[in-house]
């Protein structure tokens, strides 16, 4: 019977069952069990530069695989959304309509204060919501790819249109004429076809063949709209 007044009794809070020896060690990050102690440190402990470079390398590798779409595993298995974010922000910043139209064309009596282009937010919404809708469509048609993998692929494949946007912007520095417009048009077309082809390579196998055209059309349409935004941007 416990004697309440007697406070001399020590009640141990851990009863050692015995026979196990010393139970202690480090809490290692999963996956590093088995490595030597020198390598076993948390990614929280590493220098920021190393984290940054690792992610930058991942993004750079994926950009390279988009330009030369031969190997699919990198984009699909290890997806990330940094690349799409960078590309989308860049495109939206370049393509948005501006408030000050500096050029005054003498023959044109309409001097516009806003050149009619889309707002930054509109472009952003088009890219992200468009990618989400295309992905949803793929899944509803019976595709076997996951949501974020598909958004990652669609975002990374914006790289060719980005290149054509930069090229068009450089061309716009010169005095506009019909020949230069044709060059811009061709550059935008190349970017568009490249993007669609790359996205098809990555996403094409996830659909049954009887529905492949139904799944490819939204991708085509998505890059078509973005290419139209790029070619329509004529204000430097």
């Amino acid at each position: 019977m416990a004697d309440v007044d007697n406070t001399n009794i020590e009640i141990p809070d851990f009863v050692d069952p015995g026979g196990y020896g010393e139970v202690s060690g480090q809490m290692a990050v999963p996956g590093t069990v088995g490595k030597s102690e020198a390598e076993e440190y948390n990614t929280l402990d590493e220098p920021v530069r190393k984290t940054f470079m690792r992610d930058l390398n991942a993004v750079g590798t994926k950009f390279f695989h988009v330009l030369y779409p031969k190997e699919k595993k990198t984009l699909l298995k290890e997806w990330d959304l940094w690349g799409p974010l960078i590309l989308c922000t860049f495109i939206a910043m370049m393509v948005q309509g501006s408030q000050d139209v500096p050029k005054v064309i003498p023959e044109d009596p309409e001097i516009l204060k806003h050149d009619g282009g889309p707002e930054f937010a509109q472009v952003f919404v088009i890219v992200w919501l468009g990618a989400a809708v295309v992905t949803l469509n793929t899944k509803l048609l019976g595709g076997t790819i996951s949501f974020f993998q598909s958004v990652c692929v669609l975002g990374y494949c914006l790289l060719p249109p980005c290149f054509s946007l930069v090229f068009c912007r450089l061309i716009l520095l010169a005095e506009p004429n019909r020949f230069l417009f044709a060059i811009r048009f061709i550059a935008t077309c190349i970017g568009f076809v490249w993007a669609t082809f790359a996205a098809m390579v990555f996403l094409g196998d996830s659909q049954p063949s009887s529905r492949k055209a139904l799944a490819v059309y939204p991708i085509f349409f998505f890059y078509f709209v973005i290419s139209w935004l790029i070619i329509s941007h004529t204000n430097v």
Partner: protein, 475 residues
């Protein structure tokens, strides 16, 4: 449970236990075993797994789903993806067939029964609406560009807002109108005795045979596919020939509206109903709405903007004196007033409104030409007349385009303010498309500006007063 610990849990000669473990707790089989009391395998208990032979991973999933279906109800939750997958269960070939036959009204076949009824889908309506809204906006911009290009200079008024406007109009038409038609048919069926009416969205017909009432999903499908003809038509509308544009504007709604009405006709006029006139009226209404959409597109996106080609032919300032110009303006404004009065006082009805639109267009353009030829300083007025015209066109499209109506009102206010502002010689930052050129007007001379603005105010006041009065009578 086995009696002693010596026996394994999986006792081989005990079929019942074996069966249970293999089935992972299949209640149905357990019930059967209890009822029959035998130890034999009943292969007829199992669901139809021979259908799903190719998918080993989802075998268990399909078994459970099909057992549920065998029990008589599909228990898919609207929060799961499988529920919506049933609406996208089409192949490329089927979609292509539906697209092609939505514009060919064949007399012997009903589009609905042959192509849509077995398997209505939402892929077509959604992507066709989206494609059409972007195509209309893009080709509208291109048409503007092609019609206003002065030589080689690429001063292109690029309007991204056309996209938002077009998509609002098209999605409202393609998704709300089927809802209204469905509600109309449903209420008719209810009111007419409830016998032949279908109020079931899942497509369970009363008779089980093709001539059943049309469901909401099928209506959305029909309307979506009927819009598909406008995609190539909007590309062809870029060609700036008015006769071609009108041809297309008549042909396209007739064809696709014909297929639409033919498909819905059995539901509008079931064989046991005697009200043929009502059915005819409804069919005509559906056709008219379709035609209104087509004409709305043509007028809003593909008409040349008011600084038309005649401006480009005489770009230099003319030598007409200001007071002559004022008289000309007053005369044309009076003409406009008369014409608009005649047309707006006419009876209600969409065909009348369309005539009013046309007249407003033409007179607006005439005023534009005349004032342009008389030199600078009249730009504010053309701006205002533009806005009145646009008000006229956009007021008609109020049921379909609410955002368009708001824009028109904003622009109209801007138009009224413009003359007042130019007297001050100020250049306002907020400006509609009317064109506000302070420097040019200042060179005209202060007296001229004041005189013109007085007249402008009057004429503009007259025009707007007129239109507003008539709008009141019609409201």
């Amino acid at each position: 449970m086995a009696a002693s610990g010596k026996y394994a849990v999986l006792d081989i000669h005990d079929d019942e236990m074996d069966l249970q473990f293999q089935d992972f707790g299949n209640t149905r089989t357990q019930e059967e075993e209890v009822e029959k009391g035998t130890h034999t395998h009943h292969f007829t208990n199992f669901p139809d797994t021979h259908i799903d032979d190719d998918d080993d991973d989802d075998e268990m999933n399909n078994k459970q789903q099909q057992q549920q279906q065998q029990q008589g109800s599909v228990l898919l939750s609207p929060l799961s993806l499988q529920y919506y997958q049933t609406y996208f269960n089409v192949d490329s070939k089927q979609v292509l067939e539906r697209l092609i036959h939505s514009v060919l009204p064949k007399p012997g076949r009903n589009y609905l029964y042959m192509y849509i009824r077995p398997n209505p889908d939402l892929y077509g309506p959604f992507w066709i609406s989206l494609t059409l809204s972007f195509t209309t906006a893009i080709t509208g911009n291109l048409a503007n560009y092609l019609m206003t290009r002065p030589g080689d200079v690429h001063t292109w008024k690029y309007d991204f807002n056309k996209v938002t406007l077009a998509s609002s109009a098209i999605f409202a038409y393609a998704w709300l109108i089927p809802l209204c038609v469905y509600a109309l048919l449903w209420s008719r069926a209810r009111g007419g005795g409830g016998g032949g009416g279908g109020s079931d969205k899942t497509g369970v017909h009363s008779g089980g045979s093709p001539p059943g009432p049309v469901t909401l999903l099928e209506l959305i499908c029909l309307y979506g596919y009927s819009l598909s003809i406008f995609v190539p038509v909007s590309i062809l509308w870029m060609i700036p020939q008015p006769w071609l544009q009108w041809c297309l504007a008549i042909l396209a709604p007739v064809l696709s509206g014909g297929v639409l009405v033919r498909s819905i006709w059995p539901s509008l006029h079931p064989s046991n109903s005697t009200s043929k006139h009502v059915a005819l009226g409804l069919a005509t209404l559906i056709l008219l709405l379709h035609a209104t959409l087509a004409l709305g597109f043509m007028f809003y996106f593909f008409q040349p903007p008011p600084q038309s080609r005649s401006l480009l032919k005489s770009p230099e300032a003319s030598t007409v004196k200001p007071h002559e110009a004022l008289e000309a303006i007053a005369a044309t404004a009076a003409n406009v007033e008369d014409k608009i009065e005649k047309k707006f006082v006419a009876k209600l009805g969409e065909t009348e409104w369309k005539i009013g639109e046309k007249v407003g267009e033409k007179t607006g353009e005439k005023i534009g030409e005349k004032t342009r030829e008389t030199g600078g300083g009249k730009i504010g007025e053309t701006g205002a007349v533009e806005e009145v015209k646009r008000e006229a066109t956009e007021g008609k499209e109020a049921p379909n385009e609410t955002t368009g109506g708001n824009e028109a009102r904003k622009e109209a206010i801007g138009g009224n303010e413009a003359p007042i502002e130019t007297t001050g010689g100020n250049e306002t930052p907020k400006e509609a498309t009317g064109g506000n050129e302070g420097p040019k007007e200042a060179t005209g001379g202060n007296e001229a500006i004041e005189a013109t603005t007085v007249v402008k105010r009057e004429t503009i006041g007259g025009l707007t007063k007129q239109t507003e009065a008539h709008r009141v009578t019609e409201a």
